[in-house]
Symmetry: C2
Subunit: 283 residues, 2 copies
């Protein structure tokens, strides 16, 4: 395991792998690794000659009142976990290493970023696309791995890779859940014991919405059932529950083949997201 802290070190590592004609699997993360990240890392290692993970809490995707400063950072723990699943290198740059200049050029996500999490996090996905495009140019991966848990992020990154012709394959891995169904997240550690007991009801509500959608083909009824479930079983505040086409994230209609049912709920002060895919439009 090599820990690479500078772009120069990373470029040397990448050049050596390219020269040896090795395929590179890449897992971009903000650290605070959990089983979801490790599932991505295992796939990166299994499907490629070498696997590299980035650990970088990217400031440009946090809003001014979000948890950039408080976001958990423990590089030694992350490196140990990455090592345990066979990752060959961790790229862990400083903010100054990643953003030494600002020439003012920005990538702006489009309509896909104005809904769901984007509605309450203006600029968030612009920052994600900025750092992901930088990391793609730095790591030059054969295949990059993302978790389906961040379904909107995945949809927007898929769109960027497609529309800007990045020479990179994407691997999208299923959500990893706790035994009671709660989607694994670095933010789960913020939950109190009482909040943690309520949190699995987000997934239960999504499953209920899926069943209603499959039985009634009625998106509004599915959303309503999920809302009622969360309001009945948690003290949480619903940010959104939506039924959308995937990956364009528009209203579902008769032509929709892949449906995303996505929720964001504040349990206490912790905002949790989760989602379910339904094939064949739930039609």
């Amino acid at each position: 395991m090599q820990v690479l802290e500078t772009i120069a070190q990373l470029r040397n590592w990448v050049a050596a792998k390219k020269e040896a004609a090795q395929t590179i699997g890449f897992v971009p993360t903000m650290g605070a690794l959990h089983d979801g990240h490790l599932t991505l890392a295992k796939a990166a290692k299994a499907e490629n000659d070498v696997a590299i993970m980035s650990v970088f809490v990217n400031p440009t995707q946090f809003g001014p009142h979000e948890d950039f400063d408080a976001y958990p950072r423990d590089l030694a723990r992350d490196v140990a976990l990455a090592t345990s699943v066979g990752v060959d290198a961790v790229f862990a740059p400083s903010v100054a290493e990643m953003y030494p200049h600002d020439g003012g050029i920005r990538i702006h996500a489009g309509r896909q970023a104005t809904i769901l999490c984007g509605a309450s996090r203006p600029g968030h996905f612009d920052g994600v696309l900025q750092v992901v495009s930088k990391l793609f140019h730095l790591v030059e991966p054969t295949k990059a791995y993302f978790g389906q848990k961040d379904a909107q992020q995945v949809a927007i990154i898929q769109t960027m890779v497609r529309d800007f012709n990045f020479p990179i394959e994407l691997g999208i891995m299923p959500i990893v859940r706790e035994e009671d169904g709660l989607a694994k997240s670095s933010r789960n550690m913020y939950l109190t014991e009482a909040e943690r007991a309520q949190a699995p009801h987000i997934y239960a509500a999504l499953q209920l919405a899926r069943d209603v959608l499959q039985n009634t083909h009625d998106a509004a009824a599915a959303v309503s059932a999920a809302r009622t479930h969360i309001e009945a079983h948690t003290s949480g505040r619903i940010d959104y529950i939506e039924v959308l086409s995937y990956p364009d994230l528009a209203a579902v209609d008769a032509t929709t083949t892949d449906v995303l049912i996505a929720a964001a709920v504040y349990i206490g002060s912790t905002r949790l997201i989760d989602n379910i895919f339904v094939s064949n439009g739930g039609q």
Copy 2:
């Protein structure tokens, strides 16, 4: 010489060169090739194992009232000229091949794009960055070549490559001029004989500005001298004449090391641009 019309053909060509560990020199153009382009192509061929040129009139960098439809297109002529200087492949895609989808993601150039040509061409440099980033991802060149004639374009592309960590070297080639000093341009063919006779005074005015700057260290006096020269010797309308730091394109001050003197002048209805670099700030 291979003419590649689809992205699939291009990807195959690039993969074969990469597999053979060959370096790729790349010259992006909008066709209508002149000696300036061929100078770029010769450098691409001389400095790399193989050279590829793109010929694509990119709609997203033209404004609604600009000359996209009228822009000269003659692929057979361009391919013959590229062949004559040893180019190995020409990538000449259709608009539908380059823009089959629109997910709405855009690259926005920053302050550098708000002045000079950007002031009268809103969105132009956004479109340039869009197509250049797509072409960079498609061609995966070792080194890409641009002409110093489009100094603002070069400054903005250099900024994108730097800030977004493109794994690409840039080669910037000097302006190629007619014997009377007029910078070569695809748009020179639009000039009437009388206009063509006036056009060299743009370069003469820039040389005068350079001399005034070097003698007086007074940017305003340099601009004034160039304006007076153009007004005295042409019937043209000055769009801009500016003295700026390079590559940030800001006001010149005591710390400036590289100065760009740039002009855009309408001669008749044809807008011509030209520029001169002055090292050591003309100080």
